[in-house]
C-alpha cells in the first residue's frame, strides 16, 4: 500500500510540476525571487565603477592614507590642505545665521579626498573642520550584515511569503477556479495522498525557485570582490552562512507552504487569510513574547546566521520591540516541522470532505 501511495504521490508531483514551474500567471513569483539578486547585481556594478573612479582620482590627487586618518574635528582648514594637499573636489556655499544674528553669513566648505580605497568628506565652517565622513570601500562583513537585513525583512517576509501564497494556494483553489480539480477526485487515490502529493509539488517548486534566488543573491553580492577575499570568506564562516540561508529559505517554503495550502482548502477567498497571516508575521517584532512564538518568521529568524537589527527604525518604534530569547536551532527546525505536520493534518481532514461545487467556489 505504501508503495502504491508513493507512486501516486510521484504522479501527482509530475502533473503539478509543469503547472507550478511554467504557468504564465506564476511569472511574478520568479520576479519576486530574482528581485534581490538584481539589486545586489546593481550594487556590485556600482561598487566596481566607484572603485575605478576612486583609483583615478587618487592618481590625480594623491593622498597618504595615514595622513587622511589624522584629520580631526576643530582643525584649521589651512592645516588640512597642508597635510593632505588639494582635494579632488571642493564646494563652497554661504549660509545665513538667521535674522536674530544679523546679516552675517557662515562660509561652508566641503572638501573631498580619496586614497583609492576610502572616501573622505570634510565639512568646514568659517575655515574650521566641523564634520568628517569617512566612507570605507565595501567589505564582505559589512555586506553580509546588509544581506541579513534584506534577507530577513524583504526576502523571507515578502518574497518567499507571497511566492508561497501564489503557488500553494493555487494547488487546490486554482483548480477549483479552473474547474479541473474533479479529475483528481475521480481517481482511486486517497484525498490525504493527493494532498501530500500536491504539497510536495509546491514545496519542490518554491524551494527550487527561492533557494536558487538566495544562491544567486550571494553570487551577485560577491561578484565585485576579488577571488581571494571571497575564498577567505568562504573558508571562514561563508559556507556555513550560505548553507544556513539556503536551509532557512527551504524551511520558509515548508512553513508558509503548509499554511497557504490549508488556506486554499479552507477559504473561498484565500487573499483574506493571506492578508491576516502577513499582518501577523509583520507584527511579530512587536508582539508579546508568548505570541511571538506562534509564527513562522520567529523560528526562521532565529535560524539566520547573522542577526539583522532594525537599525534604521525610529527610536519610538524600537521601544515597542519585545525581545524573546531565540530558540535553539533544533527547537526551531523541529518546531517548524511540527507546525507543518499539524497544519497538513487539518488540511487533510478538510480535503477528505471536499466536494465539487464549482458554481459556488
Amino acid at each position: 500500500m505504501i508503495s502504491l501511495w508513493w507512486r501516486q504521490i510521484q504522479s501527482v508531483i509530475r502533473l503539478e510540476m509543469k503547472k507550478t514551474f511554467f504557468a504564465k500567471r506564476g511569472l511574478w513569483v520568479y520576479l519576486l525571487a530574482l528581485a534581490p539578486s538584481l539589486i545586489w547585481l546593481g550594487h556590485s556594478i556600482n561598487t566596481i565603477q566607484n572603485a575605478e573612479q576612486r583609483r583615478a582620482l587618487a592618481t590625480a590627487h594623491p593622498v597618504n592614507s595615514v595622513a587622511m586618518h589624522s584629520v580631526t574635528i576643530g582643525m584649521d582648514l589651512e592645516e588640512v590642505t597642508k597635510t593632505l594637499g588639494e582635494p579632488y573636489a571642493r564646494n563652497e556655499l554661504f549660509r545665513p545665521r538667521g535674522p536674530a544674528q544679523g546679516p552675517v553669513r557662515n562660509q561652508v566648505e566641503r572638501l573631498s579626498y580619496t586614497d583609492g580605497e576610502s572616501d573622505m568628506r570634510i565639512t568646514a565652517i568659517d575655515g574650521v573642520v566641523r564634520g568628517i565622513r569617512l566612507q570605507d570601500r565595501c567589505n564582505i562583513s559589512k555586506d553580509s550584515l546588509v544581506f541579513a537585513t534584506v534577507f530577513q525583512f524583504f526576502y523571507l517576509r515578502l518574497a518567499v511569503f507571497f511566492g508561497c501564497v501564489g503557488i500553494f494556494m493555487n494547488l487546490f483553489r486554482g483548480e477549483m477556479i479552473d474547474k479541473s480539480l474533479h479529475f483528481y477526485l475521480l481517481a482511486p487515490i486517497r484525498r490525504e495522498v493527493l494532498l501530500v502529493g500536491k504539497f510536495l509539488a509546491g514545496l519542490v517548486a518554491t524551494t527550487v525557485i527561492f533557494t536558487s534566488g538566495t544562491a544567486l543573491q550571494f553570487l551577485a553580492l560577491s561578484w565585485h570582490y576579488d577571488p581571494g577575499a571571497v575564498g577567505a570568506f568562504l573558508q571562514g564562516s561563508g559556507w556555513n552562512q550560505i548553507g544556513a540561508y539556503l536551509g532557512v529559505t527551504a524551511l520558509a517554503c515548508l512553513g508558509y507552504g503548509s499554511v497557504f495550502l490549508a488556506a486554499g482548502l479552507l477559504f473561498r477567498n484565500p487573499l483574506i487569510p493571506a492578508a491576516v497571516v502577513l499582518l501577523w508575521e509583520a507584527a511579530n517584532l512587536f508582539l508579546p513574547v508568548k505570541l511571538k512564538k506562534i509564527s513562522v518568521i520567529f523560528y526562521l529568524q532565529s535560524l539566520c546566521p547573522v542577526v539583522a537589527p532594525p537599525q534604521d527604525m525610529p527610536a519610538l518604534l524600537r521601544l515597542l520591540i519585545s525581545s524573546a530569547e531565540a530558540p535553539s536551532a533544533m527547537v526551531s527546525i523541529f518546531g517548524l516541522l511540527a507546525v507543518t505536520a499539524v497544519v497538513l493534518v487539518v488540511a487533510s481532514l478538510k480535503a477528505r470532505k471536499l466536494e465539487i461545487n464549482y458554481s459556488t467556489d
Binding site: 504522479s11 502533473l15 503547472k19 479552473d178 474533479h182 483528481y184 477526485l185 475521480l186 466536494e355 464549482y358
Partner: protein, 317 residues
C-alpha cells in the same frame, strides 16, 4: 428494476442532498441493474447531482449510496470500477489529449508501459488517435467530449457514468458512441447516462429514471413506466380501411376519451384510459370485418411519458 444482487447494482437508499436551502435531490431510492440507464429530466432536475453523489464528488445530506456494494467515500476501491465523464468542459492546462488520459491513469498506480497502452487503446476507441498529441485547448467541443469519454473508459470500468455524453457530437460520432455504450452494456456493465434529449434516450436506454425538481418521478423500462400511468390516456394509431366505422364503435366504450380521423382517410388516432380493454375491443372490431392494417402505440416513448409525468411546460426543456 429487477435482477442482480446488491453488489452488482448501483443503489440509493432514501438519499437527499441539499445545497443550503436549495434542494438537489430528495428521498431518492433506486436500485440500478447493469445495462444502459438514462437519467432524464430538464435542467435543474437533479441529474448531475445524482451522478456526483454516486461518484463521491458531493456527499448526501442523508441516505446511503452503494456502487456495486462500495461506498463513494472510498475512492481507492470505487474508482478502479467506476469511470465518470462529467459535464465540466475544462481540463488541466497545457496537456495534450494523450498526456491528459495518461497522467490521470498514472494515479491508478499502473506503470508507464501499461498507462501508455491503456491510453492509446481508449483514445483509439473514441477515434481521436490523430489528434492525441495535440493540446486539448485546441480541440473542438466534440473532441473535448470524446477525450473526456476516453479518460472515463481508459481503465476499463464496470460502471460508466456519463453526464450528457452526446452533447456536441456529430451524427457519425454520436452513432459510434452509442454503439460503444451498447458494447459496454452487452458485457454486463453499467452505463448510466444523463440526457434531456429524449429521442436519444428512447434509442439507447434499457431503463429510464425520470427526474423532476430533485425527485424521481418514475423509473423502469420505458414501456413499463408507460403502462403504470393509468391516469394518463394512451394514444394508439390505427391504420384501417374504414376508420369512421372504427371511430363510431370505439366511442361506445367508456375508456375511450378521444378519436381523431387521419386527413388521408386511411386511419385514426384513439386515446384510451384502458389499454387492455381497448385491445380486446379492437379484436372484436376486426372480427366484424374491418380490415386493420396496423396498430401502434403513438406515445410509448420517453418524450410523451416525460410530458405525462412532469407536465408539458417542463417537458419541452
Amino acid at each position: 428494476m429487477n435482477g442482480g444482487t446488491t453488489s452488482e447494482r448501483v443503489t440509493f437508499e432514501n438519499v437527499s442532498r441539499f445545497y443550503g436551502e436549495v434542494l438537489g435531490v430528495n428521498r431518492v431510492t433506486l436500485s440500478i441493474p447493469p445495462g444502459i440507464t438514462s437519467l432524464v429530466g430538464p435542467n435543474g432536475s437533479g441529474k448531475t447531482t445524482l451522478m456526483n453523489l454516486m461518484t463521491g464528488l458531493v456527499r448526501p445530506t442523508r441516505g446511503v449510496i452503494r456502487i456495486l456494494g462500495i461506498a463513494p467515500e472510498d475512492p481507492e476501491r470505487l474508482f478502479p470500477l467506476v469511470g465518470y465523464a462529467t459535464q465540466f468542459d475544462s481540463f488541466p492546462k497545457g496537456l495534450t489529449g494523450f498526456e491528459f488520459v495518461y497522467s490521470f491513469l498514472r494515479l491508478f498506480g499502473y506503470n508507464d508501459a501499461k498507462c501508455k497502452a491503456l491510453t492509446t487503446a481508449s483514445i483509439d476507441r473514441v477515434r481521436l488517435g490523430e489528434a492525441a498529441h495535440r493540446k486539448v485547448a485546441g480541440y473542438s467541443k466534440g473532441m473535448r467530449q470524446r477525450i473526456r469519454l476516453a479518460q472515463a473508459i481508459s481503465h476499463d470500468p464496470r460502471v460508466l457514468v456519463l453526464d450528457e455524453p452526446l452533447n456536441g457530437l456529430d451524427p457519425l460520432v454520436r452513432a459510434e458512441t452509442i454503439n460503444l455504450f451498447r458494447q459496454f452494456a452487452a458485457e454486463g456493465r453499467h452505463v448510466i447516462v444523463s440526457s434531456h434529449v429524449l429521442h436519444e434516450v428512447d434509442m439507447i436506454s434499457d431503463q429510464v429514471i425520470f427526474l423532476s425538481n430533485g425527485y424521481v418521478v418514475a423509473e423502469g423500462q420505458i414501456q413499463g413506466v408507460r403502462s403504470e400511468i393509468q391516469e394518463h390516456p394512451m394514444e394508439v394509431m390505427i391504420r384501417c380501411n374504414r376508420p369512421a366505422a372504427v371511430a363510431s364503435k370505439v366511442f361506445e366504450q367508456d375508456h375511450v376519451v378521444a378519436a381523431r380521423l387521419h386527413a388521408d382517410g386511411g386511419g385514426l388516432m384513439i386515446k384510451t384510459r384502458d389499454a387492455d380493454r381497448f385491445y380486446r375491443m379492437l379484436n372484436q372490431v376486426a372480427l366484424d370485418g374491418i380490415d386493420i392494417e396496423s396498430v401502434a402505440p403513438a406515445d410509448d416513448n420517453a418524450n410523451s411519458v416525460y410530458e405525462y409525468l412532469i407536465g408539458s411546460e417542463e417537458g419541452g426543456q
